[in-house]
């Protein structure tokens, strides 16, 4: 069957099935199980209202449990087993120790740490700068949407775009990559940027910074607008300079938002995979965790070590997870 037709049928079945399920289950609940009439009407209504939330939630909970909660447990289980030795054999922490012994893994961890420091910091800084600058000018919204635009571009598309920028031609010929064109214009020699260690990592990070800055700008821009005017006016009356107003009045007030932006970008960084795969595939010491894991899982089919790498990513994410949950609960009270 043509996949497009299959897609259409799936949409109809999916949407129709959902509506049908919700309607039918409500109908059965109200008409047959606990009808709101007869001698037990009051009790029945209460019972139906106790069950109904779970009817509404059931499909979502099923999908969440199966596609997100169960895999965490299953991956942990896989990381403790070895598939190679004829079936799944429990090997304890062998996969982890094997992984820690690999130079490529240590390289990935080190690079990931660099990514974690550089990308959120740079994106937030640029985003804050862009938000502050575009806030007060007439064509600010146009400028914002142009800086925001890379958000819509896939990591792979962005990799192609930036590979053109880093392109290198032999010395003496016209450079078609902007970076080398600038370098040769000032009398330098053209470089193969993506092979120069350790700066090639920075070249990859720039791609993600380019994408994420718009996100930071939008969120921080909204936060800047939310700052009470009085605080800024008071600072002006007290003779504060624009720098002081920005760093001592505005930034402290939007600190919670900065933290949210920072952690959101951190999450993106931890999962970054496409950019490295498309631009260097981890060569020239640019490996990162997610690509290392993909290598192990789908190129060397070592599920044990691959799952162990995935668990490391999970481990790195969990502080943010705990912090987010803590905040969400605090807010609900």
């Amino acid at each position: 069957m043509n996949p497009a037709v299959l897609g259409l049928i799936t949409i109809i079945l999916g949407v129709g099935g959902c509506v049908g399920y919700f309607w039918a289950s409500n109908f059965v609940l109200d008409r047959f199980l606990f009808p709101a009439s007869g001698p037990n009407a009051g009790r029945n209504i209460n019972r139906a209202n106790a069950i109904r939330p779970w009817l509404f939630l059931a499909p979502a909970l099923l999908a969440l449990g199966l596609y997100l909660a169960y895999p965490v447990v299953a991956t942990f289980w896989l990381s403790l087993h070895d598939r190679a030795a004829g079936g799944n054999v429990f090997v304890g922490l062998d996969n982890y120790s094997q992984m820690l012994g690999e130079a490529k893994f240590r390289e990935a961890i080190f690079n990931n740490m660099m990514w974690l420091i550089v990308v959120p910091a740079a994106s937030t800084a640029f985003g804050l700068l862009a938000a502050q600058l575009t806030d007060r000018i007439g064509w600010g919204s146009l400028a914002k949407s142009l800086i925001f635009m890379p958000m819509a571009i896939s990591f792979v598309g962005a990799s192609v775009i930036w590979k053109l920028i880093y392109d290198a031609r032999p010395e003496g010929t016209d450079q078609i990559g902007v970076l080398n064109a600038v370098v040769t214009f000032f009398g330098g020699e053209p470089q193969q940027w993506l092979t120069i260690q350790p700066w090639n990592n920075l070249m990859l990070m720039i791609v993600l910074i380019w994408i994420q800055t718009g996100f930071a700008m939008v969120i921080l821009g909204a936060a800047l607008r939310g700052i009470p005017e009085e605080t800024v006016e008071a600072a002006i009356l007290d003779g504060a300079s624009p720098w002081q107003i920005f760093f001592k009045i505005k930034v402290p007030q939007i600190m919670p938002t900065i933290v949210v932006v920072w952690t959101t970008i951190t999450l993106v960084v931890l999962k970054v995979f496409d950019i490295v795969l498309a631009m260097t595939n981890g060569q020239w010491e640019t490996q990162v965790l997610a690509n290392y894991m993909y290598d192990k899982l789908f190129r060397s089919f070592d599920w044990g070590v691959g799952s162990a790498a995935a668990m490391i990513i999970m481990l790195l994410v969990s502080p943010i997870l705990v912090w987010n949950v803590y905040n969400a609960r605090k807010e609900m009270r």
Binding site: P3, V156, K163, L164, F298
Partner: protein
Amino acid sequence: MDNIAGTKSSLTWAVHISVVILVALWLFPTVGLFVSSFRTGDQIASSGWWKALSTQEAQMSPIRVAGEEAPGADGFLIEGTLVQGDTTVSAWGTSSREPEAYAPGETADLRDGQTLTVEADSTYVLTSPETTEGTRLPRVFLTASSPPEFTLGNYEEVLTSGTAGAGILQSFINTLTVSIPATIIPILVAAFAAYALAWMEFPGRALLIAAIVGLLVVPLQLALIPLLQFHNAIGIGKGYLGVWMAHTGFGLPLAIYLLRNYMVGLPRDIIENAKVDGASDFQIFVKIILPLSFPALASFAIFQFLWTWNDLLVALVFLGADDESLVLTGRLVNLLGSRGGEWEILATSAFISIAVPLVVFFAMQRYLVRGLLAGSVK
């Protein structure tokens, strides 16, 4: 207030200029790709795209003289034009060691008494005392300037010819097939759940919300192998059904979170009035909540569409990497590997793949921003 006025007059220009620089920096890479996709392979390889609008002087690849021989004053003559079109030769030569040895109009003496004259408009005259039949005619190296030229040829080649684009059109359809159901299906599932979490009282509600906030950040990397095993076990293996289900599962936490945050903010009066009037939860949801939540639904739909369209990992794992099922992003990665030097193909394919998200982005930016704010600012 003197201070404010002073600040404005001195800093406004600085602000305008900084924003121009910032926007230019952020726009420059994408424009480069866009311009490159309209240039021929030779042009891309010989000069930077930022020179595309100016007349370019470049050394062309060598052209071998060819043409009908005619008897002339002393021996034989071959006349013709080396390059068709609007080119101006600024220098030429007959060996790769000295490609710019002669000026246009000069005559070069070649071996065996042959002479060659190339004019500025790239017409040439080759004279030879003997017949040139059966011999190799000389090659000419031209340094010529040609006016800016743009072509739609790359798009035609990538979209219609099977080999050059290596199935970009097929991948485009695959991507579309993946992303549309994967956008629509989670919305409804999430909307019901979000309503329950926002407006129904039941034990464990706070715990569930916390769990969903937690699942929001679980890396989908963890899900790859267990779910692949699961899909194989229930017999759907690698295929569209699996991708749709995976995207639905991975998109749900954000969908529920966004929609719940929005629905909680809806006015309580409306819902309570409807309840007093005897509407059931199902009716309230379908007739009141869903229409009122349209902005939130739209923002999630845009997120999910951009995410599924741009995704590489989920498609590679759950759909497969063979030629027929590759999505656009996967195809681009392959092209980067196999045709890394052919920028006209790469740039055009990349632009085709980012065109749809860009259109969606610019058309629906309002909703996207709103969704981002609802999801992040608390």
